[in-house]
């Protein structure tokens, strides 16, 4: 524990040259109702992603078309979290197109396994079990493991006693350690 005696006072931060703010410029999205609805939907999808005090995911039947659109956006890192949230939200709707899309995603060998796992979860226990039966031999390890557990109705297997996590023998991805230093540790008394 750090010694509170050494808690430094807040030091003034130099303001960036020209000031610390710039005015935002917004467009009235009233002329583009689907865009406005999509922005609102995206905010709701991402509002509760932390398990601590996270608000529940809230979507309604009126969101179906946009959720199907968002769940199909598969290009680029920027779509990743949002897409998975859309996939999960489809499971909250009582709609055949949503269920059909979730089934397709879960079974698709092309898709990233996180999208497939989200689709499996979104299907709910009964429908997921039916799909999971077909994924017992899936080439993707994470999908196969989860599907087998869903199909068999089994919980994860815990080690018999609390286990120490093994060291990862794979080396640092670059010379610089994650502490920021470049890995150089001098052996002399420098």
């Amino acid at each position: 524990m750090a010694d509170l005696t050494y808690l430094p006072p807040e030091r003034p931060r130099p303001e960036p040259p020209g000031g610390a703010t710039r005015p935002s410029v917004r467009v009235d999205t009233g002329a583009f109702p689907r865009v406005a609805a999509r922005i609102d939907l995206d905010e709701r999808l991402l509002a509760g992603t932390c398990g601590i005090d996270g608000p529940e995911l809230r979507v309604g039947a009126e969101d179906l078309d946009l959720l199907l659109l968002a769940a199909a956006e598969r290009f680029g890192a920027g779509a990743g979290v949002l897409r998975r949230q859309a996939v999960l939200a489809l499971g909250l709707l009582d709609a055949d197109p949503a269920r059909e899309r979730l089934r397709e995603l879960a079974l698709s060998p092309f898709e990233h396994h996180q999208v497939r796992l989200h689709a499996l979860a979104a299907l709910g226990p009964d429908r997921a079990r039916e799909v999971a039966e077909r994924l017992r031999e899936d080439p993707d390890e994470a999908v196969r493991d989860r599907a087998t557990r869903i199909a068999d109705g089994t919980a994860p297997e815990r080690p018999p006693v609390p286990a120490v996590v093994p060291v990862d023998r794979r080396g640092a991805p670059d010379g610089r350690g994650a502490d920021g230093h470049d890995g150089h540790r001098c052996c002399c008394a420098c």
Partner: protein, 510 residues
């Protein structure tokens, strides 16, 4: 016998990225081709795959599953084709690239956004969210009908010019039917005056915004201070710099306090700052016990480091930065299940980025232990599907040290969460159902078909959950790390949050 004055341990020249694509974390250009409209031979040639992989894709997902059962070795190649092609019926909006001319300080700039839109509905709205040394701001722009042909320009006008330094540009496009595409692009704003120098901490991707850290090395009883120096050139001609630079550590303001120690350093090779470009190097100062710098660090006092460099044409550059001992905590990064080589690299890039986020508030990492629970060992915990499973995992696995356990799992398939912390604050002891945090790995497939992790999102996600563990609750101020929504979460940590983390049992002074 080591001396009792601060000396330069070594200097390192860095390879520098183009100032118009400054961050390794930026999006990679994409250009998916419609699989129906393209000769399969083009895809085979472009992606260097077995023609059968393209054929499998033509069969759609259902047919593919069947085909791949017969030829499972094709799976990786099929995924590469899938990542680079639009399937029949797919009409997504895709930003293929963002380009700029070099951006100069206090000068309007134009971003050129290249996109592919195979749908009949047009792109109607474009926006850029700018993250820089000040508060983030947004510039939205309606897309004119005559600009809807695959390229549009987003302008940062006279009211939105920027000072020298890095700027993140998050570009988003919206189509009239609600489809969306987004990418991140980073530039280094160059000085229009036209030469400038900035100092930053070790390993930083940005400069000039926070403190250097005095890092105590018990093995030699020295403090090592690593400083990165960036010289930027806004002139269309290269600038030659002298190889020597002078440095001074000050107690109190530079020029107004007490000069503690001073010296010169010499780079091993001539320095040339490229035209409209940047040069970066880092210098390691070693301060043994008995030196003035060691004494100040040992008493937890702040120092200021000033560096001065001279161009061959006589121009003098000066920059300064605070140097202090930092608070620090350690993390055990625990991969659960299989991570590919690129995912492994992305994960540790995210940890490095998270370190920068905390260092901006004078808290650093004192260590990163790399740990792995293989899929075979994990017994099903590669994915977390409920709070019980999450807490069972914390209870079942632990690392016997005083670092925060960070489990990075293959997926959170649970109530829309992508991260969770054992408690606020988490315990400073091991064992039990609260000692750790867990996050999903934020995976995606890039345009080449490689499994990647979203480094920026993952960095903020891990930082957010560790923030909980060290005592922080949600805080909904602009750009704060502890915002509950990952859609608006930023990298800011304020002084009150720093004060709250200070007494956690895993936080120590370096």
């Amino acid at each position: 016998m080591p001396g009792t004055t601060t000396s330069v341990l070594r200097t390192v020249d860095h390879v520098v990225r183009p100032v118009t694509a400054w961050s390794v974390l930026d999006h990679e250009p994409l250009d998916p081709l419609p699989v129906e409209a393209v000769d399969p031979a083009v895809l085979v040639e472009r992606l260097r795959v077995d023609p059968a992989a393209v054929e499998v894709l033509h069969g759609g997902a259902a047919g593919a599953a069947e085909a791949l059962r017969g030829r499972p070795e094709l799976l990786d190649e099929v995924r590469r084709v899938h990542a680079a092609a639009l399937l029949p019926g797919e009409t997504p909006l895709v930003i293929t690239d963002v380009t700029t001319e070099p951006v100069l300080s206090w000068t309007p700039a134009t971003l050129v956004v290249h996109y592919r839109n195979p749908h009949e509905e047009p792109v109607v709205l474009a926006s850029v969210t700018v993250t820089w040394a000040g508060e983030p701001f947004v510039v939205e722009q309606e897309v004119r009908a005559d600009a809807r042909e695959g390229t549009l320009e987003l302008r940062l006008d006279e009211e939105h010019t920027l000072p020298v330094g890095p700027a993140g540009l998050d570009v988003t496009l919206w189509r009239a039917d609600g489809a969306r595409a987004a990418v991140r692009h980073t530039v280094l704003v160059l000085p229009s005056n036209p030469l400038a120098m900035a100092l930053g901490p070790a390993g930083a991707r940005v400069t000039g915004s926070w403190s250097l850290r005095g890092d105590h090395r018990p093995e030699s009883d020295t403090f090592v201070t690593e400083c990165e120096i960036t010289i930027t050139n806004g002139d269309p001609r290269p600038v030659a710099m002298g190889r020597s630079m002078s440095w001074e550590f000050w107690d109190g303001p530079v020029g107004g306090g007490t000069r503690v120690e001073a010296g010169t350093l010499t780079w091993s090779a001539p320095i040339t700052v490229p035209a409209l470009g940047a040069w970066r190097g880092s210098v390691h100062f070693s301060s043994p016990r008995g030196s003035g710098v060691f004494g100040r660090y040992d008493r937890k006092e702040d120092l200021a480091l000033a560096v001065s460099a001279t161009a061959v044409d006589g121009r003098v550059l000066r920059a300064e930065i605070t140097a202090r001992t930092l608070l620090a905590y350690g993390v055990n990064i625990i991969k659960v299940g299989t991570f590919g080589a690129q995912e492994h690299a992305d994960l540790y890039a995210a940890v490095d980025r998270m370190r920068e986020v905390f260092e901006a508030r004078d808290i650093t990492l004192r260590g990163v232990d790399r740990r792995l629970i293989t899929a075979a060992q994990a017994g099903g915990y590669t994915t977390v599907g409920s709070e019980d499973e999450y807490r069972d995992m914390l209870e079942a696995w632990s690392c016997a040290n005083d670092y925060v356990d960070v489990f990075v799992v293959q997926d959170f398939a649970w109530a829309g969460y992508n991260g969770y912390a054992g408690d606020i604050p988490g315990p400073a002891t091991k064992g039990g159902r609260k000692d750790g945090v867990a996050v999903e790995k934020t995976g995606y497939t890039d345009g080449s078909g490689t499994a990647r992790l979203d480094v920026e999102t993952l960095a903020l996600l891990v930082g957010h959950e560790v923030g909980h563990y060290l005592g922080l609750a949600h805080q909904e101020t602009t750009d704060n790390l502890m915002r509950s929504s990952s859609g608006v979460r930023g990298a800011a940590v304020d002084y009150e949050q720093y004060r709250l983390m200070f007494p956690h049992g895993y936080v120590v002074h370096l």
